[in-house]
Amino acid sequence: MDLPINWLKSYVDYDASTADFIEDITMTGQKVESVRRLAGDITGVISGKVLQIEKHPDADKLVVTQIDVGNGEPLQIVTGAPNLKVGDIVPVAMVGATVYHGNGVEKIKKGKLRGVPSNGMLCSIEELGFTRNDYPEAPEYGIYVFKDEVPLGEDVKKLLEMDDEIVEFEITNNRPDCYSIIGLARETAATYRKELKYPEIKLEEKGEGNSKDYIDVEILNPELCPRYIGRVVKNVKVEPSPLWLRHRLTAAGVRPINNIVDITNYVMLELGQPMHAFDIDTIDEAKIIVRNAKEGEKITTLDGQERQLDPSMLVISDCNKAVAVAGVMGGENSKVSPNAKAILFESANFNGASVRVTAKKLGLRTDASAKYEKNLDPNLSLDAVNRAVQLVEMLGCGEVCPGMVDCYPNKREPWTVEYSTEGINKLLGTELSEKEMIDLLALVEVKADGKKAVIPTFRPDLVAQCDLAEEVARFYGYNNIATTLSTGTPTVGKKSFSQLVEDKIANTMVAMGASEAKCFSFESPKVFDKLNIPADSKYRKTVSISNPLGEDFSIMRTIPVNGILTSLATNYNRRNPSAVLFEMGKVYLPEELPLKKLPVEEKTLTIGMYGNGDFYDIKGMVDALADTLNTELDYTPEEGIPYMHPYRTAKIYIGDEYLGYVGQIHPDTAQNYSVATECYIAVLSIDLLIQKAAFDRQYTELPKYPSIQRDIAMLVKEDVTVKQIESIIKAKGGKLVESVKLFDVYKGKQITSGYKSVAYSISFRAADRTLTGEDVNPPMDKIMKELSEKLGAQLR
């Protein structure tokens, strides 16, 4: 909402600079977005009279002028303008002045044009930042010439009433009344404790007959149209508006068109009530019907576009055709042409939601629809229509017929809100007296008595005590409310166990050299193809966004690896030699589609790396992580994940619960992500880690007696896993086995092909005595026997 300061000042006398005004009105609740000066870049342009015009000696299209700028010394200025004559008073940009030029600002310098000195520049209206729309008297091409005899040497911004500041407000949607200059003037008056000078509406009503004689109105859907007022103006003269009116519109960001359209726009800006004018001769049978559009009905709106309507939309129609989309835009068929003889002013109230939906469906958001969307006060319609016809009389552009047609089946009356001074003080933490509170409420035209408050109908947001509390607080000053610390029940701030586990996971990953990544939760369904996920996989059943920003952001991920792989690819393509990343994010798993209940949001740890080691490095990270959480992991080969290397991937279990997997990305998948090196990834369920993590520790006594170490080396077939070997050692070693450590695996020279040599160091210990060889030999024998029988191990 743009508020021109000059316009504002005609309703409220306040004494503050615009900078202070912005600060003050912000603090009472109207947020300022920006401020700009009209003609803000124009400096040093003054009025001057053309004393003499001579031909330029060396250029046909240039003339040399002598200009009197009121200081007695004529200035010589060379110009190319064709429209000058001696005696004209024109805008003169002096040396050092700034004017608009092209799309920018130009500083005027002393110079020579084709050898003749020129000490300034004569300006067109465009060079002053305006158009012929704003100043219709300006020539289409050439220097602006003042119509009247104005004093010389004066700032032209003042002479042309260009000097103004426009303050742009962000109006919150609970304050439809502030989408108007009068509404902001009311806030300004309350802010400064000044009187609001509401425009006085007086009419002469010289038109013949009564509006009711010329028009009839019927509302078929009073829910969507609570009020419709029509007023008729006869003997209309459609012509350009006077300068003051054009200026006010331009300043507020509305383009002047003709007096009738300008009046409707003026009233909309001033009072916040959108208006429309119909050529009354286009209304068949002189009857306005407010109804829902018919199936298949079409209308060509004022912008020349044909619009397809549907029965949810409200239209203004006559007996035969729609003449306007209610609250959005008028129809081409009923517009006020330059030859119109009589017009009908519409000042109506429409349901905000209906207008909003209609405007959205039509893709046609207008100034009017934007205002109606906020649910306007139906009582505003009356003032607005009268204000409009008053302007008709002021401009002398028609004869206003007495009376009006006012369909207003359910009048909105002021309502009462009960409150207590104590209740408001208790909510705010203030100690205001009943009287102080009454006075503060009176600033916004709320009549309160300490128990009840009568709310003006333009404030639909005030319905409960808390709403009144805000009004009190606004004008008491939010920053005058004393800052306190609540004295309520003491509470202990802390992280939950699961939050602590998550912190531990993150910190452990960081300690192991991984950096934390954050990836988008939604991605493209094409990801499944990149990951080679089968067409019937459950992972392809996703929570999908019905109105995505594009296919790339259209499904909520069910597999967490795409984000990390994409990030690894980014690093790889930017030639970072290595990357170790982890993400703690969610996957979104619907239980059924379409959703009947919320999907399961499963927290997942995804680790990804390249250039920083191999399978055993990433597996080592997973193991170390498990250690810090005091859990034990179990690995088995996993050949069935389509995007993982079939022989370099392991499933991970805690006990018999599936935790996730770790391994190398399938080379095909790596290629799909354009990473030409080995990538490793681990995916673990954070939820399960939280379930299994334990931070409580119990001390186990340190051993008192020495251990006995036995090393064994054996030759086994290549596909025998160390897990098989270890489980035999542990099973057969008995209670005395303290630890089993793999210290060598060797394939190659001196080893039969298809075999590998595996070496273990087994440590035995008893808690109550020093072991001897006799204690250890029998279990060692059992171990070796079992290894050779079960695994065909040849002990070396």
Binding site: N174, S515, S544, P548, N571, Y588, L595, K596
Partner: protein, 341 residues
């Protein structure tokens, strides 16, 4: 004899003095003090001395032996010291060469900012709660006084998802107010950080996925003064003790009165600059007193209880704190970016 002993001593001391290394020293010891050594020979020859002379010479010979031995030890110690020194010299390294650094990873800047804020509120007695990102319209809108057709629904550019009924991606963390009030015992003092979604195209300052943090306190006798107090403490903790705050009236459907909190511009300290658009203030969060209708909907009696709530966008705070100019960097995960935090 005595003279002989003196000669032996002088010779021995001289030779010891001249010894070049540890190996020679041992040979010399044997030569001087061993069984075949001159001194031993003399002691052996003591039998030929008179009774009176014997103890005198014997004592003297022992003295001489003692002196030689002492010298021997001294020279030995000297050698050992030298040897140690030589070893140390040989071990000299260039300490300015780089260490074998264990590379430590880095938390994401968003995580760091969220953690900073969590710690501030934990210190003030708040709990941390979390909730779903795929939400129902009830929690995201209706329960927060935003009925169907309310213009605020349009303003928030909601992503809807495939469901029977109104399932959507939450546009704010405010649903956590409702979820907490429904499940927690009173009094409530929580913060709820998390991801939220709005249909904004990705650019330097917009992202369809971003983070918010919701906070809420519900107890008896909570006032707007308490709201100001809590948030002023928070702002000073987060932005430094010189940070000033101001509260401006604003509108949120689920709080009344509502406010926005500005903090004095960190770039210029409040004088006015490009960062704060010459106002001296930066908008940080929205807040207000929890609307009685919202309390009622969660079965909390607004006659007995009151509370305040606040919500802040975290990306902007991270960007300001770390001078990050482009939001997209936060989701690219370039290690050269992440390693700066």
């Amino acid at each position: 004899m005595k003279e002989k002993l003196n000669q032996i001593r002088e010779k021995a001391l001289k030779r010891l003095e001249e010894t070049k290394n540890m190996d020679n020293l041992e040979a010399l010891r044997v030569e001087l003090l061993g069984k075949k050594g001159e001194l031993t020979q003399i002691l052996k020859a003591m039998g030929s001395l008179s009774k009176e002379e014997r103890p005198i010479i014997g004592q003297y010979a022992n003295e001489v032996r003692g002196q030689i031995e002492a010298k021997l030890e001294a020279v030995k110690a000297d050698f050992a010291k030298k040897l140690k020194q030589e070893k140390l010299n040989a071990e000299k390294i260039d300490v300015t060469m780089p260490g074998k650094k264990k590379s430590i990873g880095h938390l994401h800047p968003m995580t760091k900012v969220i953690e900073d804020i969590k710690q501030i509120f934990i210190g003030m007695g708040y709990e941390i709660v979390e909730g779903p990102e795929v939400e129902t319209a009830y929690y995201n809108f209706e329960a927060l006084n935003i009925p169907k057709d309310h213009p605020a629904r349009d303003e928030q550019d909601t992503f809807y998802v495939n469901g029977e009924g109104d399932f959507l991606l939450r546009t704010q963390t405010s649903p956590m107010q409702i979820r907490t009030m429904e499940t927690h015992e009173l009094p409530i003092k929580i913060i709820a950080p998390g991801r939220v979604y709005r249909s904004d195209e990705v650019d330097a300052t917009h992202s369809p996925i971003f983070h918010q943090l919701e906070g809420m306190v519900i107890d008896k006798n909570i006032t707007m003064g308490d709201l100001k107090g809590a948030l002023a403490v928070f702002a000073k903790q987060l932005f430094g003790k010189d940070a000033k705050v101001r509260f401006r009236p604003h509108h949120f459907p689920f709080t009344e009165p509502s406010a926005e909190m500005d903090v004095s511009c960190f770039a210029c300290g409040g004088k006015g600059c490009r960062v704060c658009k010459d106002s001296g203030w930066i908008e940080v969060l929205g807040c207000g007193m929890v609307h009685p209708e919202v309390l009622k909907r969660c079965n909390i009696d607004p006659e007995k209880y009151s509370g305040f709530a606040f919500g802040l966008g975290l990306e902007r705070i991270a960007m300001q704190k770390y001078s990050i100019s482009d939001l997209r960097l936060l989701y690219e995960n370039d290690t050269r970016f992440l390693e700066q935090f």
